[in-house]
Each structure stands twice: as C-alpha cells, then as structure tokens.
Subunit: 154 residues, 4 copies
C-alpha cells in the first residue's frame, strides 16, 4: 500500500471567522488533492480545516493533547488521544509530510519550530512574516499546491 | 460523524508464526465488525493484525515510536510518527476503546498496565494468565466479540 | 563529574501505611548509600520514599504527569513537570539505573513493563510474585543492596 | 521544603564561541543567585550554561531527548532520560519558572513557543528580535535578574 501524502494545518484554536474560512478552504483543497489532513483535533483552525476536508470526503486525523477522544471536534475521523499535553505538537508535525501555517500563538509557534527542526516544508498562508525560512502563499489553493510539491520532492 | 470503535491489538514484535496467525485473524475480525485497528505499527503481532484488517478493508493506524513514518509496516494506512519512543505505548492504549492482548514481553506488559490505569477493557487471547483482571478469550472471534461488547458498554 | 547512581522506587499512590513505611525505609537506605531517588513525585509510595531520602540528606527527583510543579509532594527536591501524563512512567524508569517495586496497580505494572523493555534491573520488595524475571528482596536494606549491585554491574 | 527557583537557558546546540561564553555567564549567575539550571543536557549553549552553574556550585538538570543518560554533558548533575525525542522541549520549559533565550534554531523556537503557551516569562539575551512579547536583556547579569524577578512575581 502506498501511503497518501499527509498535510498538517496549524493555527489558532480561537481564530477569527476569516481565518477559519481559510482553514476550511485549506482542508477542502487537501482532500481534493487526495491528501490526508492531520492537526490538533480541537477548535478554531483545527475544526474548520477538518470540516473542509470531510466535505470533500478526505481523511482527517486529530492528535489530541488529552486522554478523552470525545474532545475531538466532530469532523475528526481518527482521534488519537496522546495524553502528552502540548508536547503533542511535535507529533502533529512529525506525522506530516508538509505543514501549512495560519496565524496563531505560542502553540503554533512551537509547531513551526518543530517543523524547522524536523526539516519539514512549511508554507505560511498570510501569516508569520517575522519567521524566516517559510514559503509564502496567498491563497489556500496555492498553499496546498506548494505544500504537496515540496512534500513530493523530499 | 459518529466515530467508529477502535480496538488495539498488542503483543510481541517478534512473535512466532502461530501467534502472528492469531493476530491476523484478530485484525480480520476487527475489520469485519466495522472497527478500526490501532497498534504500534511495526513487526510481528502489529504487522499481522494490520494485514488482517486491511484484507477486510478496515482502517489501520500505527502509532510509531520514532520520527520515520516509513518504518511502519506496509499494512498501516495511517502512520503516526510520535517520536516519543516507548512512551508511545500509552498513546496506543489511550486511543483505543478496548485492548486485545496476545503473548508479549515488557512493552506489552506496559500496555496492559496502562490499560488497567486508564480503565480500558482488556481481553487476553490465550495469554497473560498471571495478570488478574483481564477477560479471557479462546478464539479471535470470541476475543473481538468480547472487546466490542465491553467497549460499547463504557 | 561522576554522576551518582539513581534508583527509582515505584508503587501505589494510595498505598496502605505498612507499604508506605517500607517506602520510607527504602528512601532512607538509598540516600544513606549515596544514591539519588527518582519517582513519580506524588503521594503514597512516592511521598514516603522521598521523605525517607530527604531525612538522610539525599537528593529526590519527582517526574510529574502534569504541568504544575506544586503538585509534587513536599519531599521532592527537583520537580520535573513533564505534562505528558501517564507516559511519564517511561521517563521515571529510563532515568533510573535500577528499579525497586512495591505493591501497586496499573501504573506500577506499566513501569515494570518498561523496566523489562529497557533492561533495567528490577527488585521486588514483598510484591509482584506473579511477574517473572524480577529479583526478590525481603527487607528495604536488602532491596537497595541488590539494586545498587545490579546497577553497578550494568 | 521550599523549592528553589528553576531557570531554563535555551539556545543552539552548536552555538559559536561568543554565544557559549554568554551561556556560561548565565549559568554562573543563575547559580550565584541560588537558582537551579534546567536545559536540554547536551552540547553548545546547554553545556556551557551547565558548566557555569556548576562552577558556582549550582544544581544542573538535563532533560535529554533519548534513553542514554551518558549522552548528557559532564556538567549535568541530574540527567533525565525522557526518551520522548524533541518533545522533551516542552518538558524543559514546563519545568522552569522562567526561560532565558540565546540565539538558536528550530528547537529553540519551539521552546519559545511553549513558553508563550505556558505563560512562562521569557528573557531574550541579544536574540530573537523578531519574536514579540519577550523581555530584552543586554547582559547575562541583567537577564538573570529580570528572569528571577518575573519568576517571583508569578
């Protein structure tokens, strides 16, 4: 079995509506392109990205901080209850072939740090201008296209 | 979306052929019953259980100790690269609704310990007579039936 | 700097008085012998072992499941806030040169499993007769003597 | 027992000499002020900070990524073998009352992200101008003074 490409979408758990809309479009595009979505399984960017992916019939994996799988949002198909708290951010990034970043705070910054450490391609969609070494995209379609291309080239 | 029941199959990574055959039958039965298989994603019991589940079209999740997703056996559909080493045993158990144990060694014993700690139903198939508090099954079909019944009752 | 030998004492967080007394004596003996005590940093066996070690001026390290260092018992000198939940049991065992087990439940069983997996010497003090491959001791002094001897031989 | 204040010093494992010298001075000052040093236990900034702290008789804790305690640098008094890989960065930050950052790369960025997430005070010594919300210091003495003041105010 050839395993599908896996893309992580990271960003704030309490993102404003406009960012959530971008997350939804990212999820849709990831699924349309046949890739799997992985993220933290909770609210905000995580929930809308998963909703978008499911709308197109894609697979969604949520890497939860706690032990309660029912804490996953309802668009998560496979809920992994790590119980390892915020350290689960490293697992999200390690389990992806590429990372797409939306605006976020400390947790998202930690994920970007891990993506750099692990040498994973990172595409910033309208966000994180202060961090060097990220690829830049202006639309969800462009972000996913870059992410999949970089993932394939690894 | 109602999430499917998830069953962990645990046991030795270097199990003899007879045990691997039981693992294969467990995987088949889990998939036939519509449940998802989760395990450590590597060799032996993990590989044969995943092969059985995939043969019946079931979903298989491998919770790997390292960062390399390609270390998963080829029957793992979704490879989670935790990078947290043997501590990933806690994640396997926490991510399951029930655990079915085959013969194993220290890693399997740790998983049984976590299953007790987390209050997850544990079904021992022809194994672990020395550990109290496990349910006993004599065939893969019986083990899966008990596991699913106990999982549903939680 | 030659690092001191580190001994883990494991057992129930809600152990009865007689077991706690054994834990206290284990802690005392570990400190008297110049070794460092590591454990889960909480109550019961963990608290009494740490109290014993501190009484003799020994160092005590508590590997906590959560993020709150103030959750450590007051005899823990160095509180490590792992935030990784019960998976911290693997860290306790990995950070020790030898493990001494008192009666316990699932968490203790997980630690014994990890100790076997990691090839760490395990001394059972009046406990765990059902588990093979452990060394047996009848008094705290004997348990520590065996643990230090096995640790030195690694 | 009142527990001592714990300060994490974070930065590159392959830092140039000038940065290592700053790390050494940070370690010295942390120990002089009676605080405990925690870090990742390896090379570069981690090694020099620990050397400085030990020179002043301070305690040093190294939170290692792997299972081999002998991988700690020789100035680490207490080596915690987490085995959880880079996720150990979350443990370093969670175990500190304040964080002092020197220049670094992905791993250090992940630690800064976690420190923000956990609400820990972060003092940047001549580094990370691009990250908002950090306190700035120009000398090791000033950095430690700010870190201890912020830690005490929590």
């Amino acid at each position: 079995m050839k395993r599908r490409c896996v893309v992580a979408v990271i960003g704030a758990g309490d993102a404003p509506r406009a960012i959530c809309k971008l997350a939804f479009e990212l999820g849709r595009e990831i699924a349309k392109r046949g890739a799997v979505l992985v993220n933290g399984g909770r609210t905000g960017v995580m929930e809308f990205a998963a909703a978008g992916a499911r709308k197109e019939g894609g697979h969604t994996i949520g890497i939860l901080p706690g032990y309660d799988r029912s804490a996953a949002n309802r668009h998560i198909e496979f809920a992994i209850a790590t119980g390892i708290g915020e350290a689960r951010n490293a697992v999200i990034v390690a389990s992806a072939d590429a990372v797409i970043a939306l605006p976020g705070e400390g947790g998202t910054l930690a994920e970007i740090g891990f993506a750099k450490k692990f040498g994973k391609p990172i595409v910033a969609l309208d966000s994180w201008p202060e961090i060097e070494g990220l690829r830049r995209a202006e639309t969800p379609v462009e972000a996913v296209a870059i992410a999949l291309k970089l993932a394939a080239a690894r």
